[in-house]
């Protein structure tokens, strides 16, 4: 049997009633697809069940890469390829020169960590020059908070009631579509 799905936008003028509404929606087993807001709302991620972002772990790995690259570069250039003997202080081994290499090792660590993380962030959020605006309603960058739901018939009715009762300024059904059974089967697996 084919199922009807509905995309619903619940628009709020303030984050406090929106958080209340989301709590109620979650309590009645409704999944929040996404929330669009003009600014970060604290506590929202855990409320809608978002896992913590792992981007900081990426930054750490990029930083280690930068550290390794700088070490390799300086070892090759200053120790292996062309060792210097300045004032009777030769640098035949890397560890002889470590103090002088620390500043650049540090800078390279920061460079790679920062740029690697920024690139990951841009790609992961698909923030690309000229990309299409991702917010479904332009007011969400100004002062409106939008709860984005994608639900079946029963849940949609329930959600609309909860949203209206909890102070949503607008509850709009944006579109409805039909999902063929084979996809539903796959989804429930």
């Amino acid at each position: 049997m084919a199922t009807n799905k509905h995309i619903i936008h619940g628009i709020f003028g303030d984050e406090v009633p929106m958080m209340e509404a989301i709590k109620k929606l979650r309590a009645s087993g409704i999944r929040i697809k996404d929330v669009f807001s003009p600014m970060p709302v604290h506590g929202l991620d855990s409320l809608i069940g978002l896992p913590r972002t792992r981007i900081a772990i990426c930054a750490f790995i990029y930083g280690l890469t930068g550290l390794g690259l700088a070490t390799l570069m300086m070892w090759y250039m200053m120790i292996s390829d062309w060792p210097n003997d300045v004032g009777g202080k030769p640098n035949w081994q890397y560890y002889f020169n470590i103090p002088a290499f620390i500043p650049i090792t540090f800078e390279s660590t920061v460079f790679c960590a920062a740029h690697g993380m920024a690139l990951t962030y841009f790609l992961r959020c698909w923030l690309i020059p000229g990309a299409k605006a991702k917010n479904p309603d332009p007011r969400t960058t100004d002062d409106k908070f939008l709860v984005y739901l994608d639900l079946n018939d029963d849940q949609a009715k329930k959600a609309e009631i909860i949203l209206t009762e909890n102070g949503a300024e607008e509850v709009n059904q944006i579109k409805s579509y039909v999902v063929e059974p084979k996809y539903i089967l796959e989804e429930t697996h």
Partner: protein
């Protein structure tokens, strides 16, 4: 919602809503520019053009066009370089260190302070790139494989550390600034009506939508970037000071230099932020967001860092005397009583005495006094670098190589040009970019807005 103590003074004045913040921040972008903006921009652009002319002349005939000579081989070039880099430091300090300390007052000023950082580092870069003498060979500063066999730059040299430090600092600050700008560009994109503006801001906003996932990544990225920018900013000015401290020139060869330079950088940077902010808040009527309290906080930072700088000056004198090294002692005697003593006393007056005036609440909350003192501090900090570089190099070890110094016409032209460039870029920024991080500002409206605080306290007392 995060509640805040009642006795904390609000950071957003007036009866503001989220919509009101949007309107206020977008006003300079949507509206027509004031006459004052055109006048200031024209003056700065003319200075900038003059600088380009002098710069081209230098490239044409070589650094002989400068006042630098055989003894004084670093002069205005490095003085200006260190001055500009130092000014840049306040931006990172405000956005990174104050973020780590969760200081909410940073939100009114961080955007423009970061812009200032970027433009200041660009000005600084002009001098280092030019002072090499043959700027078209500047790629040789980087460790690139080349046709000269194994000719690598010397990784033991602080001058090379500087290349890495400044380029890392510039690019990381730029990325940090831009990541913060994206949500604000998206706000402008969704508001403006003119087609060319719509197109420009859609391009600049990278398709930002403000979904919960993106905001959670945004916050994590900001926090981690702040975490790594903080040691970065300290390392950059420490490394700049190593250019001097690792040499064997009396007056330069001191271990106090890194902390002393960092404090001086923050000191001059905050002064420059104040100079710019006082103009910006006036032109764009942002008095509700950049309040007297913000100005007072910045002045307090100036007292602290100014006093650190003062202690460093006195420590230098003490160490020179206590070391028993005649060369070292003479270097400082020469600074205070030699032919360029006037510059030493300008430095002492502007950097040690003038910030102490901020101990008076009347002075540190007065806009006019702050504006004047912020300029005085920057003059003082320019003279600090002049004293360290020129006065020292005028009288080094061998009296036969003693020399005097006076800047050439071209020296002055390039310096004025960088001030013009800085001003032009900053004015363009303030006209076309959101000068206040409005998305972040909206997060503190509930806890630090004036009317919101009032209504919260009346609720608590009923």
């Amino acid at each position: 919602m995060h509640a805040e103590s009642e006795i904390r003074i609000p950071l957003i004045l007036g009866n503001k809503s989220y919509r009101q913040i949007t309107d206020d921040i977008i006003a300079p972008i949507e509206g027509k520019a004031a006459k004052g903006w055109y006048i200031l921009t024209s003056i700065c652009a003319l200075c900038f053009l003059w600088g380009i002319l002098c710069l081209s002349y230098t490239i044409g005939v070589g650094v002989g066009a400068w006042g630098s000579n055989n003894g004084v081989d670093w002069a205005w070039d490095i003085t200006n370089f260190v001055w500009w880099i130092g000014i840049g430091h306040a931006g990172t300090l405000i956005s990174a260190v104050l973020l780590l300390f969760r200081q909410k007052w940073r939100m009114g000023i961080n955007r423009s302070a970061e812009a200032m950082t970027i433009f200041a580092v660009m000005c600084a870069a002009i001098f280092v790139l030019l002072h090499t003498g043959r700027p078209w060979l500047d790629y040789m500063l980087f460790p690139l494989p080349n046709q000269f066999g194994s000719l690598w730059p010397n990784f033991n040299s602080p001058l090379l550390w500087d290349v890495f430090a400044v380029s890392t600092y510039f690019t990381v600050s730029l990325v940090f600034w831009y990541i913060g700008l994206i949500p604000d560009f998206a706000m402008i994109r969704d508001r403006v009506i003119k087609p060319w503006q719509k197109k420009m801001y859609s391009f600049l906003s990278f398709g930002w939508g403000g979904s919960a996932r993106h905001w959670s990544r945004f916050e994590e990225v900001s926090l981690v970037l702040a975490g790594i920018s903080t040691p970065l900013v300290f390392s950059v000015h420490s490394i700049v000071s190593f250019d001097f401290a690792t040499s064997v020139v009396p007056g330069w060869h001191t271990t106090i230099f890194p902390p002393y330079f960092v404090a001086g950088a923050v000191f001059s940077g905050f002064a420059m932020v104040l100079t710019l902010m006082l103009v910006v808040r006036k032109i764009y009527k942002l008095e509700s967001y950049i309040t007297i309290k913000h100005i007072e906080y910045m002045n307090i930072v100036i007292i602290v860092t100014g006093s650190i700088v003062g202690v460093a000056y006195l420590t230098e004198l003490f160490v020179a005397w206590y070391s028993g090294v005649e060369w070292e002692q003479y270097a400082f005697l020469n600074r205070a009583t030699g032919p360029l003593a006037w510059s030493y006393w300008i430095m002492m007056g502007c950097n040690v005495v003038s910030p102490q005036l901020f101990w008076f609440k009347k002075i540190r909350t007065s806009i006019i006094a702050t504006f004047i003192l912020s300029i005085v501090v920057n003059i003082g900090m320019w003279f600090e670098r002049f004293v360290i570089i020129v006065t020292t190099l005028c009288r080094t070890y061998v009296p036969s190589s003693w020399n005097t110094y006076s800047p050439s016409f071209i020296d002055i032209g390039i310096f004025v040009g960088t001030i013009g460039m800085f001003g032009t870029f900053f004015l363009l920024f303030s006209r076309f970019f959101p000068v206040i991080a409005q998305a972040e500002l909206k997060t503190i409206l509930k806890s630090s807005g004036e009317s919101q605080k009032k209504s919260a306290s009346t609720h608590a007392h009923h």
